[in-house]
């Protein structure tokens, strides 16, 4: 028998039925729910007299539209408030564990699953959110679904799925100093393009991936969808097991060792076949910034804004011109000379404790530039508490950053944290689409350390540029 990939192993373990001429019916081990993509699904259940099949495999949190103001501030937007209330009511009616705004376990859905240890190797995990791929960092098959599929999973704990193709993305060697997991993610998206991963599950491999912490692996897996792939994953190793040990959702003592032995089987066999293989050399990586309006429009922090005139493909030239016009950028501009108005450190890509530590280490002893508003939004209450225990909040506030309550926040601007028209933002989030952070706003995706240095300098910058 030919070797199998991690994806093959998880897929084959979860086949409920594979009827001739129909998609495979796949079992879902864990369904994560939030307020935005679930209300219509719960309504659908009620309309058809259905119920939630497995509340014990369903976990809900409020994250997308919660304000990040102090918890004493009410949710002033009536439409947001109604949506949060609907989540409360739906979870109560169907017996689903919910972490509402202010709850000690509340946070961004892709931050809380891993930190609570309910995201585990070998599982199938879905959520009505395209960044569900984040959980693949644990050697699980995790992907985003739409609201009709949310309803389907609530009702049946399964999903009809066409089997995806497999792609390996190998990052060879060790990344140079100053290159973070976010830069690896941006390099991969830049290389594959926005559609390169379509129809595939990506397995991230190679020394540079193995060297990443779980937080770093989550950052890389998180942005799989930006290359078109619904899922991305990393094989299980000691780093995975060490992260999980002691988390609330995992067993203790002897039982943990039994679980760990099983988890360790979720690696790809040496002779496993991938439909597509891509290689990057870590030595070529540098800090990156996006210049345009899709996440594949990436340039080195030390580079210049690209020039459409030199592009031979007319479609690419036109798309570039359109993006430059929206971003109000002139070809040939030195990236480091571009001033920003806002810096956002947060989102399911970069709001974990390690991200905040990295940004705080840059910010310490400096101050945010006068014309810049800088926000730090921890991914969850647990991250927030840990950061406060380590004194990171004090470092940020002393340096002029806002220290806010957890949530998705300015990544997608569903809560009051939005850009004003024309504002330019260095953001640790995952999408630079037109209007993503607020109508008319201009987003540049960067790593946490570049974001922190940029906040201090007021233009794109790296830690090395700051005076000590």
């Amino acid at each position: 028998m030919a070797g199998r990939t991690v994806f093959d192993k998880i897929w084959e373990e979860h086949v409920v039925a594979s009827p001739e001429g129909e998609p495979t019916l796949l079992y879902i081990d864990l369904h994560l729910v939030h307020e935005v993509t679930s209300p219509q699904a719960f309504d659908g259940l009620r309309l058809n007299g259905r119920t939630v099949r497995r509340p014990d495999r369903t976990l809900a949190t409020a994250d997308h539209n919660v304000p990040t103001d102090p918890l004493s501030t009410p949710v002033n937007d009536p439409i947001s408030r109604r949506q949060l209330e609907a989540l409360d009511e739906n979870c109560a009616q169907f017996g689903i564990t919910l972490f509402p705004r202010g709850h000690e376990n509340q946070g961004i859905v892709h931050v809380i699953g891993p930190e609570l240890g309910v995201t585990q190797p070998g599982m199938t995990i879905v959520c009505g959110d395209s960044h569900t791929s984040t959980h693949g960092a644990f050697g699980s098959l995790a992907f985003g679904i739409g609201t009709s599929e949310v309803e389907h999973v609530l009702a049946t704990q399964t999903l009809p799925q066409q089997r995806a193709k497999s792609m390996s993305v190998t990052v060879k060697g060790i990344a140079p100093e100053g290159v973070s997991a976010k830069d690896i993610a941006l390099a991969i998206v830049g290389r594959l393009g926005t559609g390169g991963g379509t129809g595939h599950v990506i397995e991230y491999r190679g020394e540079a991936i193995r060297a990443l912490s779980m937080e770093g692996r989550m950052t890389v897996c998180n942005m799989s969808i930006e290359a078109g792939a619904r899922a991305g994953l990393v094989a299980v190793d000691d780093t995975t097991i060490d992260y999980l040990r002691g988390r609330p959702g995992v067993p203790e003592g002897e039982e943990f060792e039994v679980a760990a032995t099983r988890w360790r089987t979720f690696t790809s066999d040496d002779d496993a076949h991938f439909d597509v293989e891509v290689e990057l050399d870590a030595a070529d990586l540098v800090p990156f910034v996006t210049w345009g309006t899709n996440p594949a429009q990436v340039v080195a922090l030390n580079g210049v804004v690209p020039t459409p005139d030199t592009m031979s493909d007319p479609d690419q030239r036109e798309a570039t011109e359109r993006a430059l016009a929206y971003m109000d950028l002139t070809p040939g501009t030195v990236v480091r000379d571009i001033p920003v108005d806002v810096v956002f450190i947060g989102s399911c890509t970069n709001s974990r404790i390690e991200d905040l530590r990295a940004a705080a280490a840059v910010a310490i002893g400096h101050h945010v530039a006068n014309h810049v508003r800088a926000l730090v939004v921890p991914g969850s209450h647990r991250v927030k508490k840990q950061a406060e225990d380590e004194g990171l909040d004090k470092i940020f506030t002393d340096a002029g950053f806002e220290w806010r309550e957890p949530g998705c926040s300015m990544c997608l601007g569903m809560n009051p944290d939005t850009l004003k028209p024309g504002q330019r933002c260095a953001s640790t989030s995952n999408r630079n689409f037109e209007g993503r952070q607020g109508r008319g706003g201009r987003t540049h995706l960067v790593s946490p350390v570049v974001a922190a240095a940029t906040a201090i300098q007021g233009h794109f910058s790296s830690p090395g540029e700051l005076s000590s």
Binding site: V16, G21, E22, P23, L25, Y27, D29, L30, V36, T37, P39, Q40, N48, R54, L59, N65, S80, R82, Q83, A86, T97, H103, N105, L116, V118, M123, T124, S130, G144, I145, G146, T147, S148, H152, A155, T156, Q157, T158, P160, T194, T198, I225, G228, R230, P248, G249, R262, N294, D315, A319, R322, L412, G413, M414, R431, F433, E434, G435, R436, R439
Partner: protein
Amino acid sequence: MKPVNVVEGRCVPLERSDVDTDQIIPSDWLKRVERTGFGRGLFSEWRDDPEFVLNQPDFVGATIMSAGPRFGIGSSREHAVWALMDFGFQAIIAPSFGDIFQNNAAKQGLVIVQLGADDVEELTSLVKLEPARLVVVDVVHLRVEVPEAGWQRDFTLDPMTQQRLLNGWDDIGLTERREDAITTYESSSVAPTLEGIFDDAGHVR
């Protein structure tokens, strides 16, 4: 969902690549708990521009849209499909689509037609030249036609998606036929549940 056999009407050419679901329906619209009324938010960041193709009188009432490659990438929001359908679109023609968008469309009965980039460009030229031209998307024969111009192209759909469109089948109902298989699977599953981790208030026990 309603059965779809044939979609007929004008085709509006959206000549852009990488149209992400944030453009189709901005996040401000995602706060609503209803499934209807999203048409007003369709492409709302572009609709202020009188030159925008959806604002051109020639294409009012179009039921089909053609677009550049990678239509519907990005966010999983099914609201994008709801917005397109609420506005009146029943079929989208493009060289490629975002995976999640394509799934969402299939669940709602929005017909996804994948044609080669050259074919989409030809179709675009035909409808730009004569916007009133009838375009036909035939789900039975898997064919796109501009009858007046004698132009036609075949496309493919996986057989299950085609049958679901033609019959208006409800996916959950189809899966419920597999109840025995699901129960059997569950009895042997080793994957942990959330049982015993949290108390009634969601605190770790």
